[in-house]
């Protein structure tokens, strides 16, 4: 059994002429929680889409459990995706279905389980995220944090091997943030899954992640365990971790000379 469940090999990808990712390599080990961090627009979420097969690389490949993702046919892709659960940034719950129906959705689509078994499983998943009592509500009635927890319950509906999180902490209050943090870690360990988190939240991520990748300028700028990165001397890493206003990522966007721009 390969130690790397997901492997990104020499991947290049871009929309149009400019490449977003240039020849990058990343490995995600089984059973570990990995994080992908970087500034806005550096292509973090795109990596998740490449892993899930929603986008095809320009060159290089992504392998999941040994299989190259973009070479799979319809059936192969379906099998890969059935092992994945994804939590989208704002939950992406189906607004016309109730909380119960949302969590039951993957079960109904992919299994032939009878209704009473589905009911038990759904309530089990909702209990894991602490929302068993809310199963009759509609997504419109939930707060942001609650919606995201329901989406998490839906993502783990079929006990996936891979769980991906797209900016799970964005816009949450401190309590909800702590809840999600705890859930990501505990679910990963309980399910024996491999989790990948895309985020730019330093404090939370560093508290529970096993391995962290930093993306910048289309490549991996730095990688390592939280302890290694905290001790890193790389200026980019230091700027990010210590939230410095200016450094390798400049404050000023590219502009002509100041004096010539003003009408003085």
């Amino acid at each position: 059994m390969e130690e790397n469940l997901i492997s990104i090999n020499n991947l290049s990808f871009g929309y149009g002429k400019d490449l977003l990712h240039k020849d990058i390599n990343m490995q995600f080990n089984r059973g570990k929680v990995s994080a992908i961090m970087g500034g806005s627009g550096c292509g973090k979420t795109t990596i998740l889409r490449l892993i899930g097969g929603q986008l095809n690389p320009n060159s290089g490949n992504v392998t999941v459990d040994g299989k190259v993702v973009h070479e799979q046919g319809r059936e192969g892709l379906r099998n890969i995706r059935r092992k994945m659960g994804m939590l989208f940034q704002h939950g992406a719950l189906f607004t016309d279905l109730s909380v119960y129906e949302n969590v039951a959705f993957p079960m109904r689509e992919h299994t032939d389980l009878p209704e009473n078994v589905i009911k038990d499983l759904v309530l089990l998943k909702l209990n894991a995220v602490g929302l068993r009592g809310a199963h009759k509500k509609m997504p419109a009635e939930l707060s942001g944090g609650m919606a995201r927890r329901v989406a998490l319950a839906r993502a783990i509906s079929l006990d996936p091997d891979i769980i991906m999180y797209d900016e799970p902490f964005a816009g949450l209050d401190p309590i909800s943030m702590a809840v999600i943090c705890d859930l990501i870690r505990s679910l990963n360990d309980a399910l024996g899954a491999t989790s990948i988190i895309v985020t730019h939240d330093v404090a939370e991520t560093f508290s529970f992640a096993d391995y962290i990748y930093f993306l910048a300028d289309g490549g991996v700028a730095a990688e390592g365990s939280p302890k290694q990165l905290l001790a890193s001397k790389l200026p980019f890493v230091k700027q990010f971790i210590h939230s410095e206003k200016d450094g390798p990522v400049p404050f000023h966007a590219e502009a002509p000379e100041y004096q010539s721009d003003l009408s003085l």
Binding site: Q54, F88, H90, A92, T95, E109, A151
Partner: protein, 261 residues
């Protein structure tokens, strides 16, 4: 000179984008057909959509049909009376409705009511990443979201058009016979003698099926390609109405020249 070149450039670009839109739409149609098995195996999905596109359009269709029928009766009567043929009012109302107004007006109203609803709903699902989420759960959005709505539209439109024609004729009857006083027997007998089931009614039904296909496909396509912003979705709904209406009117001309000439 520059202005003319610019204008030509824009014209060429818009022609090219229209053609590529037509191509993408065709591709969507074939994909929908390929993924349609779920719409029938799990007919509940389609039934739900028939409710939203068909049943909820009933009120506007019936009310409009009644008024259109009444106007036809009124205008037709005063024109026919000049030639002493006021008893042909039944024929006029029936043929105008069954051949043209039934399918066309229903299609325009349908595009405005159900078409925009479909576009807005799908556009919103795209914006909130619901379609993406479905894809990642290995469920094809085409099979689950697009195809049921397509078949619901194909079923609803002919039904709505037929109801429109019936209510319109009743509206014409109401004005001509009950209000103005045209002879009841003449109204119906002239109509029955001159409206042919195969040529007029069935052809009208065929038209409404073609229009249903067109309007629903356009609505679905615009929803799927809408830019995932609030402005994008709102512009997509406008485009649905405009493109659907123009297509219906254009197709009506083509179909009429095939069928009735």
């Amino acid at each position: 000179m520059n202005n003319i070149l610019n204008f030509l450039e824009k014209l060429g670009a818009s022609a090219r984008s229209s053609l590529s839109g037509l191509g993408s739409c065709t591709r969507l149609f074939f994909l929908t057909i390929i993924y349609s098995s779920d719409s029938f195996k799990r007919f509940n999905l389609t039934i739900k959509e028939i409710y939203f596109t068909g049943v909820l359009s009933l009120v506007i269709i019936i009310v409009s049909a009644f008024f259109v029928g009444m106007v036809l009766g009124l205008q037709g009567y005063y024109t026919l009376e000049k030639y002493g043929s006021s008893e042909a009012i039944g024929v006029l109302v029936a043929l105008a409705l069954v051949r043209e107004l039934g399918p066309v007006v229903t299609a325009l109203l349908y595009a405005g009511r159900a078409g925009t609803a479909i576009t807005a709903e799908i556009g919103l699902m795209k914006t909130t990443e619901q379609l993406s989420a479905m894809e990642m759960m290995a469920v094809s959005p085409i099979a689950r979201i697009v195809a049921p709505r397509f078949w619901a539209g194909m079923i609803s439109m002919p039904i709505l058009a037929t109801i429109f024609s019936m209510v319109g004729i009743l509206g014409g009857y109401f004005i001509a016979v009950l209000i103005i006083g045209v002879d009841d027997g003449a109204f119906w007998s002239q109509m029955q003698a001159n409206v042919d089931f195969h040529n007029d009614i069935v052809d009208g039904a065929i038209k409404s099926i073609v229009f249903g296909f067109t309007c629903t496909l356009i609505a679905l396509y615009q929803g799927l390609v809408a830019p995932p912003t609030a402005e994008g979705v709102s512009r997509a709904t406008t485009k649905t109405v405009v493109i659907s209406s123009l297509s219906v009117l254009g197709l009506d001309f083509v179909l009429t020249s095939f069928m009735f000439v």
